[in-house]
Amino acid sequence: MTILQDDLTIVLAGEAGQGLQTIEVLLTSLLKNNGYHVYATKEYMSRVRGGMNSTTLRIASRRVCALREKIDLLIPLHPNAIPHLQHRLTDETVVIGDQSTIDYRPMIHVPFLKLANEMGNSVYANILAVGMIAGLLKIDREKCVQFIDRHFSGKGEEVKNNNLAVLHKGLDIGAGLAASIVIELVGDAGVAGEILITGGDAVAFGALAGGCNYLCAYPMSPSTSVLNAMAAFSKQFGVIVEQVEDEVGVVNMAIGAWYAGARAMVTTSGGGFALMTEGLSLAGMIESPLVIHLGQRPGPATGLPTRTEQGDLSLALYAGHGAFPRIIIAPRNIEEAFFLSQRAFNLADKYQVPVFILTDQYLVDTYYNTPCWEMDDLKVEKHFIETAADYRRHIFTASGISPRGLPGFGPGKVCVDSDEHDEGGYITENMDIRKKMVEKRLSKTAAMVNDILPPQLTGPPDFETLVIGWGSTYPALAEALDRIGNGKLAHLHFSWLYPPAQEAARYLAQAKKIVVVENNATGQFAQLLKLTMDCQAENILKYNGLPFSVEELVREISAHCD
């Protein structure tokens, strides 16, 4: 008898086009609605069919938000799944698959494809797998039937009934296996009403709640999900969503939209953003708000299009010719992907600067259950004004921020120019005005001080070693440090990357040792800390295209703390 504990990692692996995603979506929804906490993430190849992809599901009695390396239950739908995932298999891993095609022993023989074909069509393998896992987890049969019935409603009676028959077969197989594989999971009724949402969709919802009403993009993994989500919202919420000819056009369109009074966002990845850097500089010069969702993937160049990396921080930080202020935020999880994306629009509008939402493939494609977000405290802060006849767009002020007028709203003229300009927006080569304009633009960084999110410290206040992370590595780091349970070890997390949060200085000063964990090869955030906080740090770096797992962070951090 095998006993699997209350934190179960199930991995589905197969070729693109084998329907892994169908199994994943149905299972996570079914299990969540039956009171289990679920987490799902996927790694996949840059192709439409074939290759080898895998989805990791974590099902637990408590909230789970991070990737575990160890696989408890593997469902290989293709022989190549075994070598692909070998490093995550242990003696305790239960493997369920077709013995005639998959070379792994011991393995519980369930020939999904053969059974599906016997029942009429190979596509039924997906529902068979869903049923089997549900049966293994002892999910109430009636609830499974209702769920599948709903899923196939509208697809015709025949399709629905065939799938229900397959579901029952899967449930029977699972129930049979449950005699020898005992899974100890405790449900939590409160979970059923929670939402399941990906990081990418959370960015889109956040944008919507930030008043975003113009989204333009050129499709590029992994940022396209935000484009798709906004397009799905466009009718209901009055959002203009435009697929543009190239990223150069994208960014100029977004700046034009802000100029006319929209709240615009672009969504892109490193290569696409590289094309936007000229436009970014334009936003800096004409003091245009701009929100950039930069979903990172490994470069250089095309790199690994469907994989993850935190490799574009330096690009975001230094992009654009000339000097101008900017804000860079990196949500630490799906909740922050919503709330910080919402806030990005208010910040962009208030300071009239580009604001980066720095995510990555891992965060964009990952999802877990979370209570539906409250919006009572959210506001769309509009910072534009109705112009007077003598309005001047770039008037000098103490804060460096000039009231932003819109063309057609008031009798004033709203004049912006990519050339150096005077207060009215007219081209000038007067060196005194030039100097004052440079200082005006740069002074906005100092004005931001009260809006900067301080880093979050978790762990003992009398720590000696500080583990620092930023962006999407937070949940895995938090769980890893929890597991390590070292009384002298604390975790300092940054979701606000730039301008630097001065509160960090005292934590850095207290630390005897600093370890910065980053999903890139050069320690870009550690470099930024060194530059802005003069701090020396060791690095834990990962740059093979995959996210950190909890176990590997436990190993790496422990090695640094010996």
Partner: protein
Amino acid sequence: MSQNEFDFPHQVETAWCPGCGNFAIRKSLLAALDELGLPREKVVLVSGIGQAAKMPQYINTSFFNGLHGRALPAATAIKACNPELKVIVVGGDGDVYGEGGNHLLHATRRNPDLTLLVHDNMVYGLTKGQASPTSREGMVTLVQVNGVFEKPLNPLALGVALDVPFIARALAADMDQTRELFKKAILHRGFALVDIFQPCISFNKVNTFKWFKDNSYYVGDDYNPADRQAAFAKALEESPFPLGIIYRNEERTTFEENLPLYTQDKRALYERETDFVKIRQLLQSRV
């Protein structure tokens, strides 16, 4: 005569060479805007970079003078976000046909309701005399030392191929005709392209005022710009080059007309509010 409110009350100091065709184009544009009686605060001039692209600086309206070649994406968005605005884009042949070539192709596909005026002097002025996409074959410059061998871009034929719904060619020196073409272009619903022949007195010694005059003619009243096949044949004519309205298509819908958000509600985006209740309801359905 009352003051044209699109002009400044004071003398405008420009960055143009004395005798430049831009002055005549500016006068024609000012007259067109005045005669159309457009509300000044609803007019936005959009441009990229170059001597022609400085035009917005010298017209008394709001303007967005952005990056070289990038005026059209910005202008498309400005019009889409506030369809009440009258958006006029001004640029040169290098700006619009060279650096901005891809944006031109795709902007015309969207067909925003805006006017594009291209000062076409067949040479780069602000960078001091290199060949442009419309330079004629054989022109020798400091860069094209062996003479231009590339085929010049034909903006009219390109426009007809893309079904750009209003295509005209003007001659800067003919200010009455140019003003009338500008008025028709501005009133046209949809994308209107006006290619304006204009001498560059500093850097183009080949295509002079006299050359343009000797190598062009106005299409007659018997010419039907609604006939696309005929328009394509007309657009291909060279030496003499046809002037006037070359092609017109009244049928195409505009970018703004294709945006569902304006079908019920005509308000500009800046006038709209965010509905948090509706957002939360949708989010709550993600179970």
